[in-house]
C-alpha cells in the first residue's frame, strides 16, 4: 500500500471512532514514583493499590519496588520474580527489576539466589559502591573470600590484590562473624604489608574474644609498633591486661588511651574496674562516673558504678544504678 493512502485511511478511521479514554496508568505510576522518591513507600503502595491493574507489568514493577522500600522483601520477591524478562533487555525497567529483586533476596537472607541478580546488575553498574558492598557481603556469607575481597575492594576504592583489600575484606567478614575467614585475610594482609595498621588490632580483638589473652597482647604490641598513637589499640591492650588482672599494666595502657582520645567512655570503665580491683574505690568511682557522664546509655558503666556503690555500702544508690543498667538492656 502506498504511504499517502495509509495516512488517509488512518485519518478516516480516527474521525469515525470516539476519542480513546486517557490511559490512567502512566499518571498514577508517576505519582507513585514521586512518593517513592520522597521516601514514602506506603503512600506509593496505596496509590498503586487504588490504581488496580495488578497484572500490568508496569504496575507490578513499581509495587515490587515500593514493597522493597517498605522492607517487605517477601512480597517484593513474589512481585518481581515473574517480571524477569517482562521488559526489553537493557531497559531501565528491566535493570531495576533485577537490581531490586537481587537486593530483596539478599535482605531476605536468600543469599545464594541473590548473587546472580546482583552480578547481572554489576555489569551495568560497575562503579556503584553500594552494590559492590552488598555483593561483597553476599560472597562473604557464601564463603567465597576471593570474590568477596574483589568486590569489597571496589567499594573501598583499593586494588583488589592489595594489603588494604585484604584488610577491608577482613573487617567486613568480622561484621558477620566469619572469624576464621577474616583471620586468613588479616594474615595475608600482614604478609603483603607488614607495616599495615589495624590488621593486628583486628586479630587481637578476635584473640581477646576467644580468651587468648597472651596472643592478644602480643598482637596489640605489634599493632602499636606500626600505629603508635592508636587509642583503640591501647584500650584493647588495657582490656587484655584487665582480664589477666595485671592492674598496673592495664592502668598504664588505658591512661595512655585516654590521653590520646579523651572522648571515648570505654577506657574510663576499665580504669574504674582496675582501680576497684586494686582496692582503690576512691579513684575508681570518678573514672566510672566520668564514663556515665560521657555516655549515659553505657550499660557497663552503670553496672560497674552499681558494683562500686555496693562495695562501699551505698545500697540504695547501687540499687538505682543496677536498675538503670537493667533498663538499658532494652525491652
Amino acid at each position: 500500500m502506498i504511504p499517502w493512502l495509509l495516512c488517509a485511511l488512518l485519518a478516516q478511521a480516527a474521525a469515525a471512532s470516539p476519542p480513546p479514554a486517557p490511559d490512567p496508568v502512566p499518571a498514577a505510576l508517576a505519582a507513585a514514583r514521586a512518593a517513592l522518591d520522597a521516601g514514602r513507600p506506603q503512600d506509593a503502595l496505596q496509590k498503586l493499590l487504588a490504581l488496580g491493574h495488578p497484572e500490568d507489568p508496569r504496575v507490578a514493577h513499581l509495587r515490587g519496588v515500593a514493597e522493597y522500600r517498605a522492607d517487605d522483601y517477601a512480597h517484593a520477591i513474589e512481585r518481581l520474580t515473574p517480571l524477569l524478562g517482562a521488559f526489553p533487555a537493557g531497559s531501565s525497567e528491566a535493570r531495576e527489576v533485577e537490581q531490586v529483586l537481587g537486593l530483596s533476596l539478599y535482605l531476605a537472607n536468600r543469599i545464594p539466589e541473590a548473587i546472580p541478580h546482583l552480578e547481572h546488575t554489576r555489569e551495568w553498574a560497575a562503579d556503584n559502591m553500594e552494590l559492590a558492598q552488598v555483593l561483597g557481603m553476599a560472597y562473604v556469607q557464601t564463603a567465597q573470600p576471593d570474590r568477596a575481597r574483589a568486590s569489597l575492594a571496589r567499594t573501598f576504592g583499593v586494588p583488589p590484590d592489595s594489603a588494604a583489600a585484604h584488610l577491608f575484606a577482613a573487617q567486613m567478614m568480622i561484621r558477620v562473624e566469619r572469624d576464621a575467614m577474616a583471620d586468613e585475610e588479616l594474615k595475608r594482609a600482614i604478609a603483603k604489608d607488614p607495616r599495615l595498621p589495624h590488621a593486628r588490632y583486628l586479630r587481637a580483638q578476635a584473640a581477646l574474644f576467644r580468651g587468648r589473652f597472651d596472643d592478644a597482647i602480643a598482637l596489640l604490641k605489634g599493632e602499636l609498633e606500626v600505629n603508635p598513637a592508636s587509642a583503640m589499640a591501647l584500650y584493647l591492650l588495657g582490656d587484655a591486661y584487665v582480664r589477666q588482672e595485671k592492674w598496673g599494666e592495664a592502668i598504664a595502657a588505658l591512661q595512655r588511651s585516654v590521653w590520646i582520645n579523651p572522648y571515648f567512655s570505654g577506657p574510663y570503665v576499665l580504669l574504674g574496674r582496675a582501680y576497684s580491683a586494686r582496692g582503690e574505690p576512691g579513684t575508681a568511682e570518678p573514672m566510672v562516673r566520668r564514663a556515665v557522664e560521657m555516655d549515659p546509655n553505657n550499660r557497663a558503666a552503670h553496672y560497674l558504678l552499681a558494683q562500686l556503690l555496693q562495695q562501699t555500702g551505698r545500697a540504695e544508690e547501687a540499687r538505682r544504678e543496677f536498675e538503670t543498667a537493667a533498663r538499658l538492656q532494652g525491652p
Binding site: A108, N109, R110, I111, V140, Q141, A143, V176, E177, R178, D179, A180, D183, F209, R210, G211, F213, V242, R243, E245, A277, R299, A300, H302, Y303, L304, A306, Q307, Q310, Q311, A315, A318, R319, F322, E323, A325, A326, L328, Q329
Partner: protein, 567 residues
C-alpha cells in the same frame, strides 16, 4: 681428674634440675567413665542429629541421682526426648530409671517401676512430696509436666491429674518446662514444686532455619529464643492432701524480670532460714527469687548484682551450681553460659549482694565452650569446693564452622586453689574429661558411697556417661543424710554447718540444680587432714537448729530432726 669430672657432672645436673620446670603436684583425683560397665546404656533421643528445625530439638535432657527404693543407695534417672518425626506406637523412647545394685552396676527398672513415659522430656527433680518416706519425681517437658508419686513398693503412679498439676499452656502455644526444684517455700513441712518455663512455643508459627532469618556465624540454625514468647515460671503449693494449688501469680513467681528460664535451684541466699530460688535465664537477666516469708517472692536478681555479666550484659544462662566456695558461710552461685562468653561466678558477699568474681576467680579464661550441667564438688576432699562443667554446642550445624568448638565438647574441671582462684585442670586430667561428648544435664552424687561425688551426664542422641570420681586416699570426708520430721522429710532447704580441724564449712540440701537435674540430697564435705568432725549444726527447713558433736569422718551419718542437741 676423675674427682674433678665428678664435681663438674654434679654441678651440671644441679643446673639442669634448677632450670627444669617444677613437677606439678598430683591432682589427687581422677575420673573413669564407667557408664557402659555399669549398665547405663539407653540412648537419649533428642531432635535431629545433624540439623535442627526448632530450638526445641537443642536443649536436651536432665538427670537425677536419688534413692527411689529406700535401700540407701543412689539410683539413676535419665530423662529422654523424641524427634519431630516421632516414633511408631510402642517404640517411643522413654525416660530410664536404673536401680543401683550396690556392686557398681545398675539394672534398668523403668517398666517395672511404671516410668516408661516419653515425649519431649527436659528436667527432673525429686523429693518426698507426701512425707511418706520415699522420693517422688516431677519431670518437665515440652508439653505436659508430670508428677510421679512413689508408692513405696518400687513403683510409681502418674498422679499428675489427681494432684491438680495438669496444664499445657495457653492459646496455640505449648508450655516448655525446663529446670524444676522441690522447695518448702512456706515452711509448712511439705514440699512444693517450682518449674521454670523456657518458651511458650507454637511449632505451627515458629520460624525455621529455612526462613533464612536465623543464622549463627553465617550458618542457618534453629531460631530463638529472641523473637519467641518467653515462658512464665510456675509454683505449685502442696496442700497436704495429695493435691497442689497453682500459686504462680499469687506468690509473685510470674513477676520475674527475665524470662526463658532453664536451670533452677533452691538456696538460702540471704541465710535467713527461708529458702530462695535462683533461675538461669537464656538471653535474659537471671532471676533471684527472694523468699519474703509471707508466701511470696520478689525477684531481686538485678538489684543484688546477681543477674548480669560483669559488664552488665544478660547472658545465655543454662546450668547452675551453688556452694560456699570461699568459706564465708554464704552460698555462692556459678552459672554456665553460651559459647563466646565466660561462665559466671557470683560470690555471695553475705550482705544480700553478688560480687562477680568470674575473672578474679580464674574462670574468665574459658570462652570456647558452651556450658550446661555443672556442680560444685570437692574433687580431692581438701575442703575446698571445685567445679565440674558439662559442655556441648546447641547447634549440630556448627560442624560447618571450622573455627568453632564442635557440637560434642570436652568437660571443664576447675580446681579450687583455696585462695579465691580456680585453676583449669582439665588437660591434666586427660580422658574422659577431655573426650568430646554432646553433654546437657548432669547430676552429682556419690553412687558408690565412697565419699566423693560422681557425675551422671545425659548426652544428646547418645548414651549417657557416668564419671566415677576416684579420690586419692588421704584426705578425709564426711556426709550426712538428713531426715525431716516436722520439716519436709527430704530436708530440702536444710543448712548444714560442719566444723572440723578449726574450719567451718557450710552447705545445704537443695532441690534441683545443675542443668534441669537433681543432685544427691545427701550433703558431702571434704575435710582435708581433719579425721573427725568437732561439731555439726543443722538448721532444718522449719528454722529449728540442732547440733551433733564428735562424729567420725569417712562415713555417711544419718541425722534425724529432733534427735540432735539444742545449740
Amino acid at each position: 681428674m676423675r674427682r674433678g669430672a665428678g664435681v663438674l657432672a654434679v654441678a651440671a645436673t644441679c643446673a639442669l634440675l634448677a632450670g627444669a620446670a617444677e613437677p606439678e603436684k598430683p591432682l589427687g583425683f581422677a575420673f573413669v567413665n564407667v557408664a557402659r560397665s555399669a549398665g547405663l546404656d539407653a540412648v537419649t533421643v533428642f531432635g535431629g542429629k545433624d540439623a535442627n528445625r526448632y530450638l526445641l530439638e537443642t536443649t536436651g535432657c536432665g538427670a537425677a541421682f536419688f534413692d527411689y527404693d529406700g535401700d540407701g543407695r543412689l539410683d539413676a534417672f535419665l530423662m529422654n526426648g523424641t524427634t519431630l518425626a516421632g516414633f511408631p506406637k510402642g517404640q517411643e523412647p522413654t525416660h530410664h530409671l536404673y536401680r543401683n545394685r550396690g556392686d557398681g552396676t545398675f539394672e534398668d527398672v523403668t517398666r517395672k517401676a511404671g516410668l516408661a513415659f516419653g515425649g519431649w522430656g527436659q528436667g527432673v527433680c525429686a523429693g518426698d512430696v507426701d512425707n511418706d518416706g520415699d522420693s517422688d519425681l516431677y519431670v518437665t517437658s515440652f508439653g505436659q509436666n508430670r508428677f510421679f508419686r512413689n508408692r513405696g513398693d518400687g513403683t510409681f503412679e502418674d498422679a499428675t491429674r489427681a494432684a491438680g498439676l495438669g496444664g499445657l499452656g495457653s492459646g496455640g502455644a505449648t508450655r516448655w518446662g525446663t529446670g524444676c526444684a522441690m522447695i518448702d517455700y512456706d515452711r509448712d513441712g511439705r514440699l512444693d514444686i517450682f518449674a521454670a518455663n523456657y518458651i511458650d512455643l507454637d511449632l505451627a508459627t515458629a520460624p525455621t532455619p529455612d526462613s533464612g532469618l536465623c543464622r549463627y556465624k553465617g550458618v542457618k540454625v534453629a531460631c530463638g529464643p529472641p523473637g519467641l514468647k518467653g515462658g512464665k515460671n510456675v509454683l505449685y503449693r502442696n496442700k497436704g492432701d495429695g493435691t497442689f494449688a497453682d500459686v504462680s501469680e499469687a506468690s509473685g513467681i510470674t513477676k520475674a524480670a527475665g524470662t526463658y528460664g532453664l536451670g533452677a535451684v533452691t538456696l538460702d541466699f540471704d541465710d535467713d532460714g527461708w529458702t530462695d530460688l535462683y533461675v538461669a535465664n537464656d538471653s535474659n537477666p537471671s532471676t533471684l527469687y527472694r523468699n519474703k516469708h509471707d508466701g511470696t517472692f520478689e525477684d531481686v536478681g538485678v538489684r543484688s548484682g546477681c543477674a548480669f555479666s560483669q559488664d552488665g550484659k544478660p547472658q545465655a544462662g543454662m546450668g547452675l551450681a551453688v556452694g560456699d566456695y570461699d568459706h564465708n558461710g554464704f552460698q555462692d552461685i556459678f552459672k554456665t553460659n553460651f559459647a563466646g562468653d565466660t561462665s559466671t561466678l557470683y560470690a555471695n558477699t553475705g550482705d544480700g549482694h553478688c560480687e562477680d568474681r568470674t575473672f578474679m576467680g580464674g574462670i574468665g579464661l574459658n570462652t570456647r565452650w558452651l556450658g550446661w550441667g555443672t556442680g560444685f564438688l570437692d574433687l580431692d576432699n581438701d575442703g575446698w569446693l571445685d567445679l565440674f562443667l558439662v559442655n556441648g554446642h546447641v547447634y549440630p550445624e556448627v560442624a560447618q564452622i571450622p573455627a568453632e568448638a564442635a557440637y560434642a565438647q570436652r568437660k571443664v574441671v576447675y580446681r579450687n586453689r583455696g585462695d579465691g582462684r580456680f585453676e583449669d585442670v582439665t588437660e591434666r586430667l586427660g580422658p574422659p574429661a577431655t573426650t568430646p561428648r554432646p553433654g546437657r544435664g548432669a547430676a552429682f552424687g556419690d553412687f558408690d558411697d565412697d565419699g566423693d561425688l560422681d557425675v551422671l551426664v545425659n548426652n544428646v542422641n547418645d548414651v549417657p556417661d557416668l564419671y566415677r570420681l576416684d579420690s586419692t586416699p588421704g584426705a578425709h570426708w564426711v556426709a550426712f543424710r538428713l531426715t525431716g520430721r516436722v520439716s519436709n522429710r527430704s530436708a530440702i532447704g536444710a543448712r548444714v554447718r560442719v566444723t572440723a580441724g578449726g574450719v567451718t564449712r557450710t552447705d545445704e540440701v537443695r532441690g534441683g540444680g545443675s542443668y534441669a537435674s537433681q543432685n544427691d540430697l545427701r550433703v558431702y564435705f571434704g575435710l582435708g587432714p581433719a579425721a573427725g568432725v568437732d561439731k555439726v549444726e543443722v538448721r532444718w527447713p522449719n528454722g529449728r537448729v540442732e547440733q551433733w558433736a564428735g562424729l567420725p569422718a569417712g562415713r555417711i551419718h544419718a541425722l534425724e530432726e529432733g534427735k540432735g542437741l539444742a545449740p
